[in-house]
Symmetry: C2
Subunit: 431 residues, 2 copies
């Protein structure tokens, strides 16, 4: 099978080297040699020995080369990459990509053309790096109605939260270190504000529920407002704070949200630390399963890219041109559930208030919550953290509609004894 | 696609009910209805409403029924089940089974006939219940040379060890409870002596390394000798004791062993508790990934059975009769690595000795270990557990050949101050 590799950066270089290194094992597994016949890159990668492989700086040439069976797109971005992929599909080539942004935002258009042309577009490497979670959802758990899934799917954010917990450091402090270590970009918005995670979650949701990609309807909230205090208090109540992507099937639609969340510390995913990723999937037959591994890195991501190539090779070996449908459902069998607004979800909340240390404040706050039909699980004033007559108050509520919580918080913030905006973090009980 | 379901016990009943319950979702995913047209059982299952589905007590009838595309074998055992599967394959039917014993002991013969007849034999449900770990190894991680894998693949054993740790109970005490709860069989040998785990590990090793099934060469050691003391001491040194199946590629062969093991308590698999299963896989590109979920239960196991059926349906949908090769490698590309004897492996050890509380004992033991070129990581006498002049001594060694350890233990046991056989547990560092 002849492939053209577009992009020779971190993942492109890893893919190039993995295909060379494990050539024999790969051939033994799929019954044919996977041959890189052309590489497109504007910057040569010193880690890759191209030898006599044809190299161009014009990726479009790869899309137009009739000798190539599969185009591997590892350029990134949604401009040239999109044009390139559509051109390759138009020319009847299979496509393998690690480009989550492109699939999350333009996947529907891409899959439609692929369907028309009878080729496969594979994107395992786009979600959770080397963890074969797309395959698990689409094939391994295919007998299940998926109830929900929740994932730590951004390594940068998880590294920051892990350091904050382990060492009591602030967000800003750890971010600076992560940037120095190369875990975080100079502009960290994409990672820490949840956009990258929302791209991945959008894809996971579509494969889980067989729904159209709806990235523009995803709710995203970052971790930059999480304080070491929150991490410490959460821990005292038996929780860890993680940046979670959550998608859930409701009777009337789908939840699709990325935000910091308190997770019970006895749940396995609460123990996933550092740059590692993990996804918990709840299926109606199998119950909860969890998938853990490296969510980024040259060779880990290349592992997923090459697995997709092997899938295509194996199908070709059996005389078939396309494998499992992109979203795990036959194209005429997709569901039309819409992603609901975050106002329509319900969950438990952690609230942190800074209040004047006076009698009656707790009662007034409890009354406001009661007026909004919000049940309190626990309410604690942190005497030990009393400073200048101001005391932190921590509340854990039962499950409550987001809308009621918004109204209650407004009313609480209007109290004159409440001196700061209320800090609110959702609880994910993962049951 | 028409299937015949042989066996209507726990897993059979679950499979029957799952195919009914999720009929629409399954059809949406594989593009065809999976129809049970015949059931073979000697005992009706009150949880299953057969309606007008043809029911027989003679499973062979199903194997011979020309209208059936896939035979699902959920009878268990290696007698009738083997005959049934070979007959079905001989008649050109695909086979899906959850029968780990049969695959581990007779898989080679079965796969050979399947190859000849051009049909698929699928067995995801045989290993780790609902966790799609065979698929992960065979497809999701297909780009990797697998270095090793280690799994908690027997829920009964893990339940017992978890209870022993959480509550300081003895093995015998917990086993009795597990039997009452239905987690353990009346004859628990299969589970607690590691035979069931060895069946599963044999299959995992063959898929991971592309080697013939070699159940008869697996080393198995049970957990019945583990004492609450060992659990407690291991914990003090930063370890948990788990019953692990481990298989590893050596330069000259394959390790294949099931035994209790100390695992560093910061490793995610150390935190897998109760009846849950998990497998860690170390691949040369992806690094470590972990797969976690229910390893048994009617619906969880049915999830894997039906996923295999969906794979077959999808391949048929693409006009192909067989999917990925049974052991993940093309049949002429299997490796011929042999499983090595346990005497040829090396690992670190935990040793518990009961010795007379006298000066010089520690020195004599340290000298014996030194004479056998065994490096000691730590040596501790448990003053607090001194009883009647006898004191427990706990040793942790560095990695050492099993053979050297055997000789050293013999020499230690010959010391007159050593009053009990040495208790030895291997350490799995999982690095």
């Amino acid at each position: 099978m002849k492939i053209g590799l577009c992009g020779l950066g971190t993942v492109g270089g890893g893919t190039f080297n993995l295909l060379q290194k494990n050539k024999d094992e790969i051939a033994a597994r799929c019954g044919m040699v996977i041959d890189i016949v052309q590489v497109a890159t504007r910057d040569p990668n010193p880690a890759c020995e191209l030898g006599d492989i044809d190299c161009t700086d014009d990726a479009m040439k790869v899309a137009d080369d009739a000798s190539i069976d599969v185009l591997v797109e590892l350029i990134g971005g949604t401009g040239l990459a999109k044009e390139l992929i559509l051109r390759a599909i138009g020319n009847g080539k299979h496509v393998v990509t690690a480009n989550k942004a492109l699939i999350a935002e333009h996947g529907s258009e891409i899959f439609e053309l692929a369907k028309e042309k009878g080729v496969t577009v594979a994107f395992e490497a786009g979600v959770a790096g080397g963890i074969p979670v797309i395959k698990a959802l689409r094939e391994g758990l295919a007998a299940n109605n998926i109830n929900w899934l929740a994932g730590i799917i951004n390594g940068t954010g998880n590294f920051i939260l892990t350091e904050m917990r382990d060492k009591g450091r602030t967000f800003a402090d750890v971010l600076t270190e992560a940037q120095a270590l190369g875990y975080a970009e100079a502009d960290p918005t994409f990672d820490v504000e949840g956009i990258d995670a929302a791209h991945k979650l959008t894809i996971l949701a579509s494969v889980a529920f067989g729904i159209p990609l709806q990235f523009d309807r995803a709710y995203t909230e970052g971790i930059s407002e999480i304080s070491p205090q929150d991490v410490k208090y959460a821990e005292e109540f038996g929780y860890r704070i993680k940046h979670l992507g959550i998608t859930k099937r409701l009777p009337h639609g789908i939840e699709l949200r990325v935000h910091p969340a308190l997770i019970p510390d006895h749940h396995l995913i609460a123990k996933v630390d550092g740059v590692m990723n993990a996804v918990v999937i709840d299926g109606d037959a199998v119950g909860q399963t969890l998938y853990y591994g490296a969510g980024a890195g040259d060779m880990a991501t290349a592992s997923a890219v090459v697995a997709d190539l092997i899938d295509i090779a194996r199908a070709r070996n059996q005389g078939s041109n396309v494998g499992v449908p992109s979203l795990g459902h036959e194209d005429d069998q997709l569901n039309d559930y819409l992603v609901v607004s975050v106002d329509e979800i319900s969950c438990a909340f952690y609230l942190r208030l800074l209040v004047q240390d006076q009698p009656g404040v707790l009662a007034r706050i409890a009354t406001i919550l009661s007026d909004h039909a919000i049940n309190i699980e626990s309410i604690t004033q942190k005497e030990s953290d009393l400073v200048n007559g101001l005391i932190p108050m921590i509340l854990l509520t039962h499950e409550v509609p987001e809308k009621s919580m918004n109204h209650a918080i407004k009313a609480i913030e209007a109290l004159e004894e409440v001196v700061e905006p209320v800090r609110r973090i959702r609880v994910a009980d993962l049951r």
